[in-house]
Symmetry: C3
Subunit: 251 residues, 3 copies
């Protein structure tokens, strides 16, 4: 089995790097591997906190749309459930997770970033976006709830209705990222943030994180399966399918 995830541990911080092609596109194998790796880090007493980042110029471009065009509807739905399960798990991960956004952070990639505890983004190097609406796709109940928790209801509306590609600096103003840093500082500062949160009393951190996030997660959980089914309906509609095939042709 080839691996799309690289995990390095140093000083109590595990750095998880998405590494799949040029754009770190997400498919079933990648998401499954992310889940397995994080499960392992959850139980690893030598790991106090995690940094999640991407290799190359992208954090992640989101779902691997060309690959998914080949999936059956059933397989695609199964993938969505896995993806949803993973980001819901990540959102409540009992240890601190810092997203080090090294470049473009788009759609499903942005959803993963939103599930982390803090987001650092490299300056002037990439866009962050939930651009689904612009190719005729919806999003999910869980990712919408995480976005609201991150930026508030009003900015969530602006992000989702516009589908805009935000620079790191714009994302900072919106609250979509917490800090914008020069490229050379990204990984050191992410590791520092991870060590800082990882240095807190682990039980107290876990408890406080759960008090903050469990109400958000619980409210969304009851809506998630219906939102996945609606997502699939829209995805396979003729108008959206046509857009998706054009994405396939793009370089």
């Amino acid at each position: 089995m080839s691996s799309f995830i690289c995990v390095l541990k140093e000083d109590g911080v595990a750095t998880v790097t998405l590494s799949r092609g040029k754009v770190n596109a997400l498919n079933e194998a990648t998401v499954e591997e992310l889940y397995v790796r994080f499960r392992s880090l959850e139980g690893d007493a030598s790991v106090s906190s995690v940094v999640l980042t991407g290799a190359g110029k992208f954090f992640s471009f989101g779902f691997d749309i060309p690959e998914f065009l080949e999936y059956s509807r059933e397989s695609f739905t199964r993938y969505l459930r896995l993806f949803s399960r993973f980001y819901a798990y990540l959102f409540l991960f009992p240890k601190p997770v810092i997203a080090a956004l090294n470049g473009h952070t788009i759609a499903g990639g942005c959803m993963l970033a939103l599930a982390c505890d803090q987001r650092l983004m490299v300056a002037g190097k990439g866009k962050i976006s939930l651009n689904e609406i612009n190719f005729g796709s919806s999003v999910f109940a869980g990712s919408t709830a995480m976005l609201k928790a991150c930026v508030g209801e009003r900015a969530a509306r602006d992000v989702l209705f516009s589908g805009s590609m935000f620079s790191a600096e714009e994302a900072l103003m919106l609250g979509l990222v917490d800090k914008v840093v020069p490229q050379e500082d990204l990984m050191p500062l992410a590791a520092r943030a991870a060590r800082e949160l990882g240095g807190k009393n682990a039980a107290a951190f876990r408890s406080v994180k759960s008090l903050l996030r469990k109400p958000v997660a619980d409210e969304a959980a009851g809506r998630e399966e219906a939102s996945i089914r609606e997502f699939v309906e829209i995805w396979y509609s003729p108008e959206t399918w046509k857009n998706l095939k054009e994405i396939k042709i793009a370089p």
Copy 2:
């Protein structure tokens, strides 16, 4: 039947204009007609989005208090249920609705504005307010939830506890409106915003809007009937009734 609502369609945008007397005060017939017209626009394939505005110098001054003073308690309660049904319907309307606030937007008028997707307000021409507390009235569970979703919990407290009349510019700072524009630009910019959102994939827009707003609406729905009953109790209390009668005398 005389009509208090004017609907014009152009380029996929339906402009719905409140047109009742000088202040576009809301009564049962107006709210019922708004509901019927929006239901019709929902099913009208030629309409992609809606602009809601008012004729003259007011968007709406809110409930027609002098008229309601003549209602029986039962009739007034029935009106409140219709009003509540309409703004709840508007809040989840599956097509984009832009509020073009052409002037004073007060109390019930502000509640309608809050149910829209975006609010543009004319500069220097009117006040926006949920001033109920200042004549001894409460508001509703639904309108409170919509206000919170619009401006956040803290500003919602300030808006409702003070009952202040905010200028468009102050409302922009609070997040109560999204844009303040010169009078001559109001309708063109509202139409442009409507075309922009109306140009998105309709199914994706509807789904995303529902993901954003259904949790808000569902939470409030369970509290709405009790809040209407409490509203009525307070409305008919001697102290509030005295205030309401003074509003009657006002020009």
Copy 3:
């Protein structure tokens, strides 16, 4: 029975002053007395609104940790339930409550401040903090929900994860306090704010406050007992206990 609470009434405003030792530390007797006094003010027709403040240089340093180290686990748990009952009651208190933060407002002290309707803080004189995480303690579902309602989800995360001691000016930026005032103006301005809110129609105020806060309170109420049990588990863990004993030694 010695009293830790002083209540003065003037012009319809009751000023409740915490007065226990140098730091107004909270113990069972203090919280029980607060509850009894507020219950009495709720029913007192001569009182329209309340100011809550502290004697000396502290609003409150929070729980009386040295005293609680002598408690049995059962007694401490009983205290937590009383404390939780009191702040939940205060959060929904039907009359306006203004917190006049005269100095350090820490941990449990900050939770009481969050339950008030407005927070005025003296400039340059004290810190405000939910610093529990830094001695290895968690917080509660209710206090987390009140913090979120006050500052939003994102700032709530920053406040709780960092455990930072904020100056009044920093707290103002965060939204943790509403106004920062010179020491000599604190009580007059708090009384003015109390008179202003207390001058509103009492039934309308009570109703609007409930519409704003009941959804927050209800959501948290279902999680409170479990969060108290988790708090106790963490409090008595060896690592946290060691920290608590060091606090005991501090002057």
